[in-house]
Amino acid sequence: MSRLAMAIDSERIRKDFPILSRTIRGKPLVYLDNAATTQKPNQVLESLRTYYQRHNANIHRGVHTLSTESTQMVDAARDKVAKFINAPKSETVIFTRNATEAINLVAYAWGRKFLTPRDEILLTEVEHHSNLVPWQILAQEKGARLRFVPVEADGSVSVETARRTITPKTKLFAFTAASNATGALSPVRELVDLAHENGALALIDGAQWVPHFKTDVQAWNADFLAFSSHKMLGPTGIGVLWGRESVLEEMNPFLGGGDMIQEVWLERSTYNVLPYKFEAGTPNIADVVAFGAAIDYLSALDFAELRRHELELTRRTIEILRNEGEITLYGPEDLEKRGGIVSFNVADIHAHDVGQIFDAEGVAVRVGHHCCQPLMRKFRVAGTARASFYVYNTLEEVEAFGRALKKVKEFFKVKSHA
C-alpha cells in the first residue's frame, strides 16, 4: 500500500485519537474538517485530566505547592510555544482565547494607541472575518482607511499586486499565511518585507499555517503572529498572539484587571511586564497546559513529512474531483502553492446539500462561506464544500470521500457532460 511509503504513520497515530473510531450514522467517521478544528489525542486529554486531578490551583502569588506547580506548568507551556514558532523570548508569547482574540488584541492595544485618521490598514480580499472585522471596527472608530489587496483568480495573494496596493500611509499590513477557504499559501516573507519597506508593521494570521508548516517568526521577520490551539490538536479556548518585543512594549494594555498590573492605587495603576500586561485575570490554565501537550505531540513529528503527507492526500482528492467531472475547484493549480485544503462545488448543488450527503457517508466536510463572505462574493458563490486534512487522515479516507462524492451526484441526479 502506498501508505507505507509515508514517514507519517497515520495508522499508528490514529490510535492516539479515540474519536476517530466513532461511527456516524452507521459508517466509520472520516473527519475532513481539520481547518475548522482538529481532533485531540489522548496525550492532550490526559494532560487536562492530570492537571485537574493533581495540580489545579490559581497561578502567580501562591506560595503553596499546587499554585507553584500550576504556575510552572503554564510557564513551561509558554516556553514550548515560543520554541515551536522560534520566538526569541517566551515573554513575547501571549495567551488569548483564540486567534480571533489575538487579532482583536492588536486592534485594541496597538491600533487605538497608534492609528490616526491619516493612516491606512492594508488587508487582503481573502481574509477570514476574524482578520477583517476587528480592523473595520478600528478604522471606523479612528477614521482611518482600509485598503485591500485584490485576490488573484486562483484565490492567492501576489506580492506584485500587494505592491501596487500598499501606500506610504499604510501603518499595518495584516494578511493570512494560508487561506482557510481555498488553501492558497501566501508568500509570507515577501509580504512582510513589502510592509517594512513601506514603513508598516506586518501581522500574520497563522491559524491555517502554524498547525501544518514549520513556523519561524524570526525568519519571517514578522511583527505579529496569531494562531489557535484547537486547530493544532490542542483544546478550544486557547489562542496565541506572538509579537515583536519592542512593539508589544510600546502598546497599551488590553483588558484591565488582576495579573496585568504592578501597582494599583485608587486612581491609577502601573502595568505589568510582558506577557502579563496582556493577560488580565485568571487565564485558562488547564487548556494552556493541555496546549503544551499538543505542542509536544506535534514537536515529535517531522513537519517536512507532515507536509508531504498532507500534499499526497490533497493531490489524490483533487484527482478524484477532476475525474468525477461537473466539479468547480477553488485555489491554486500548483499543489506546492496550497496547503491541505480542497474547496469545491458539485455542479449546481448547494454546498449544504453536498455536506448532508457526505455526512450520511460518515464523511465530515465543512460547507458554507467559511467566514470569508467577501471572497465568496468574488467567486460568485454562496459557499463551497471544503475537505481539509491533518496528520491522522489516510488515503483510504480520501477514497471514502470519493465514494461520498459519487453519491452526491447520483442522489441529486447530476448529469455528466464529459
Binding site: 448543488i349 448547494h350 449544504h352 457517508e361 454562496a382 441529486f412
Partner: protein, 161 residues
Amino acid sequence: MPEGDAELADLYRDVLIDYYRSPSHKGKLETPDFHSHGVNPLCGDEVELTMTKDGEKIGQVRYAGHGCVISQASTVMMAEALEGAEFGRAKVLIENFRDMLLRNAPISGLPEELEEAKALEGVRKFPVRIKCALLAWNTMKLGLDQGPRKAETAEYKESER
C-alpha cells in the same frame, strides 16, 4: 438500507428534488402588492417573494434567490399552497407548517392544502436544516403581516441560532 441512507432518503424525498429542479413559480412580478425579502446569514440563502392580491385572496406568488434543495423545494411548495388562499387562511397554513417543523405537530393533523409540504417532515430529524425549510414561510409571514405596501420591501433575517 444503512441507517444513514434511510434518514437521507427521508430528508431528500424524490419529490423535493423534483421541486428543486422545477421552474415553477420562479421569477419576480413587475408590480407586486406584497414584496418581501429573506436571508439566512448562516448559509447565505436568500429568497425574494413577490405577490399580488386578488380581492381577499392571494393572487400570484413568485420567488427569486438561491438556496439548497430543502429551501428551494419548500419555497415552491409554499407558493403552490398559498396561491388562491384567503389571507386569513394563508396565515393559518403558515402556522400549521411552522408547527410541523418547530413543534413536531403530527402531520396527520395538517390541512389538505399542505399535502405536498408534508414531504418536508423528514427535515425534523436534521435540526440544522429546519431553518432552510422555514426561510420562505417566515419571509412570507413577514410580508403578509406588513400588508400590501408597494413602496417597501419587508426584510426578514433568520437569526444565527
